[in-house]
């Protein structure tokens, strides 16, 4: 045990030596990314590459599947030939928006889930569990009941409802800062209240209104066209940039508030910014597509298991979410006897997953 004191400590201010660089190369079979210089384990890069490949393949298959089937070769030709033929119209104008929406929305939901689960340190601390999706539904319902069903007013109502319920959960859970477990419990309580409020709204509404609201509430991306997708894409892209900017803070918060503060982080402002970005991500998706359960909950957990990373990996989570929603929408459109909203598929898979998660958590605690 006394061997250490005889060691010569290296001068930490000296420039790096060849020895340091050799050590760096040995480090956990990691890869140094160009420009930012971050060191990333090779396995995580491989997982990101594999997910990307799977997405491309599934997207090509999805673009070719439907009442007018196309082979993968025909899909690629239709995309790049630009001859304006019937194939091009089908692929680019009918099917591509839906595929892109599934991918981008899936990624947005997964990022939102990764942020929340990381902040709450709990795989259940997902925005769809702790009230924000239900709050969005409430907002949409109120707007549909009062103003009528138009895309942008419903979207606005959903965003407002999501943000308001998020704000309510945050304030109710705030006690000398935010603590993960309290956030989850308060979130579940708020979800229950909003659920009964939603039911009451639906019961009081006229039949047509209730129908429109129920379709929205099932969570579907089939009705989203370019006109609605593009604004959502722009907002989600901005939010994704913010997530990148805040990712360092997220990694610090994983070490506990004391360590994060000792490293010079402004903990509460950073956490609030992450909460706002996380809520905005799910609110934008929910506004356009209705509540889609399960993706935010499961994608980060699947991603962390396959990439074996420390903490929830953001890029891999986003790609997993994209792949999940695309796959779920494929199932909803093509593999069931009659097409259903994608939200139905994710709810069924999500229910099973949630049960598994709860059993796993119960087993962990003696």
């Amino acid at each position: 045990m006394s061997a250490r004191t005889s060691e010569v400590a290296t001068d930490a201010t000296a420039p790096p030596t060849a020895v340091d660089l050799a050590k760096a190369r040995r480090r956990a079979s990691s890869v140094r990314l160009p420009l930012v210089g971050a060191v990333v384990p090779r396995r995580q890069l491989l997982v990101v590459g594999a997910l990307g490949l799977a997405i491309v393949v599934l997207a090509l298959v999805a673009l070719g599947t439907g009442d007018y089937p196309l082979s993968v070769v025909e899909v690629v030709r239709a995309m790049f030939a630009g001859d304006g033929g019937f194939d091009t119209t089908i692929v680019l104008e009918w099917r591509l928006p839906r595929v892109l929406v599934a991918l981008v929305f899936g990624a947005g939901l997964a990022l939102s889930g990764a942020i929340f689960q990381s902040l709450t340190r709990n795989p259940l601390g997902s925005p769809d569990i702790i009230g924000f999706a239900t709050g969005s539904y409430t907002g949409a319902l109120v707007v549909i009941t009062l103003v009528g069903d138009s895309y942008f007013s419903t979207a606005g109502g959903a965003i407002a409802g999501g943000l308001l319920s998020a704000g309510a959960v945050y304030l109710l859970a705030y006690r000398r800062g935010i603590q993960g477990f309290r956030l989850i419990i308060v979130g579940i309580a708020v979800t229950a209240i909003l659920h009964s409020f939603n039911t009451w709204l639906l019961l009081r509404a006229q039949v047509e209104v209730a129908m429109a609201a129920s379709i929205w509430g099932a969570g579907s991306i089939s009705l989203v066209g370019w006109g609605q997708a593009v604004p959502a894409f722009v907002v989600l892209a901005v939010l994704a940039i913010l997530v990148v900017a805040l990712s360092g803070a997220l990694r610090q918060l994983e070490l506990g508030d004391d360590a994060a503060k000792a490293h010079g982080m402004r903990v509460e402002p950073a956490r609030l910014a992450l909460l706002v970005v996380g809520v905005a991500l799910i609110a934008v998706v929910t506004a356009s597509a209705g509540p889609i359960a399960f993706v935010a909950l499961a994608a980060p957990q699947i991603a962390v298991r396959i990439s074996k990373s420390a903490g929830l990996p953001l890029v891999a989570s986003a790609l997993t979410g994209a792949l999940l929603l695309l796959a779920a929408d494929f199932v909803a459109q093509h593999l069931l006897p009659s097409a259903v909203p994608v939200g139905m598929v994710t709810v069924v898979i999500g229910g099973l997953y949630l049960i598994g998660l709860l059993i796993g958590q119960a087993r962990k605690k003696p």
Partner: protein, 264 residues
């Protein structure tokens, strides 16, 4: 005498309504190995937390280089003062090198995420704590003693001249406690200012160059262990009647409790 780099100037410390210390002043002599001792709940960890900007005094100020620390940018303070918190959490499956590298946060920004200097500091910190060979291992696989060394390495990676340690030896067996204290003594000899909260008075007397003795939120006395640790002081502060003799190994004061019914 000029004021030391780090000192508390009439601070009132507490949580919510509960005041732990009122108008407390304490100096951390430059280049010292300062140990804060006192009975449970005397406010020693609270004082340490205020030194590391984790707890903002409701009155008075903790002063670093002549300026209140809450008037610096948080990252500036984090480049001068490092902290080993009492409890830390690590994400599941994190490797030693990854964890230690997160101590570089105060030296990084959006553009400059990981530089050669960061890499160098990472390996220097792991070398100083003798965890280099564990760099690619997962933290969960390590023993308690090794794990604590990794946390120390994370604080060292911050490359701060002042290092605060909140009960660093709690939960470790005696060999690992001594091992870790030797490490701190080594860092102290290399010119770092070390401030630790310790429970074991004999360890404090052996390793500290400067003691701060606290009771009920107040500083009772300060000074070199040989001058400060007496039977009267231990009786007064801890309510324990004892003998204080010379430690036969280190020649520092050794506290031997007199009371106690260890046999019938």
């Amino acid at each position: 005498m000029t004021a030391p780099r780090l000192h508390a100037d009439g601070v009132t410390l507490g949580y919510d309504q509960r005041v732990v210390s009122r108008g407390l002043s304490a100096d951390i002599p430059d280049g010292s190995f300062t140990v804060i001792v006192g009975p449970n709940a005397c406010g020693k960890s609270t004082l340490l937390r205020s030194f590391s900007r984790l707890l903002k005094p409701s009155a008075g100020a903790v002063v670093l280089d002549g300026k209140a620390i809450d008037r610096y940018k948080p990252k500036e303070v984090a480049r001068a003062i490092g902290l080993l918190p009492q409890t830390s959490v690590a994400p599941e499956g994190i490797t030693v090198a990854d964890l230690v590298s997160r101590g570089r946060y105060p030296h990084q920004n959006l553009i400059r995420q990981w530089s050669a200097a960061d890499e160098h500091a990472l390996w220097a910190a792991m070398a100083a704590t003798n965890v280099e060979s564990l760099a690619t291992r997962q933290l969960d696989e390590l023993s308690g003693g090794q794990r604590q060394r990794v946390w120390v390495a994370m604080a060292l990676a911050q490359e701060t001249p002042i290092l605060l340690l909140d009960e660093p030896t709690t939960y470790l067996d005696i060999a690992h406690q001594i091992d870790l204290l030797d490490l701190f003594a080594h860092l102290h000899r290399e010119g770092n200012t070390i401030v630790a909260v310790l429970h074991d008075l004999n360890h404090a007397a052996r390793y500290a160059s400067h003691l701060i003795v606290m009771k009920d939120g107040e500083v009772i006395t300060t000074g070199a262990p040989a001058e400060v640790v007496t039977a009267e002081l231990v009786e007064d502060v801890f309510g324990l009647s004892c003998l204080v003799i010379d430690d036969p190994v280190s020649k520092t004061p050794l506290v031997i409790p007199k009371s106690g019914q260890w046999k019938d």
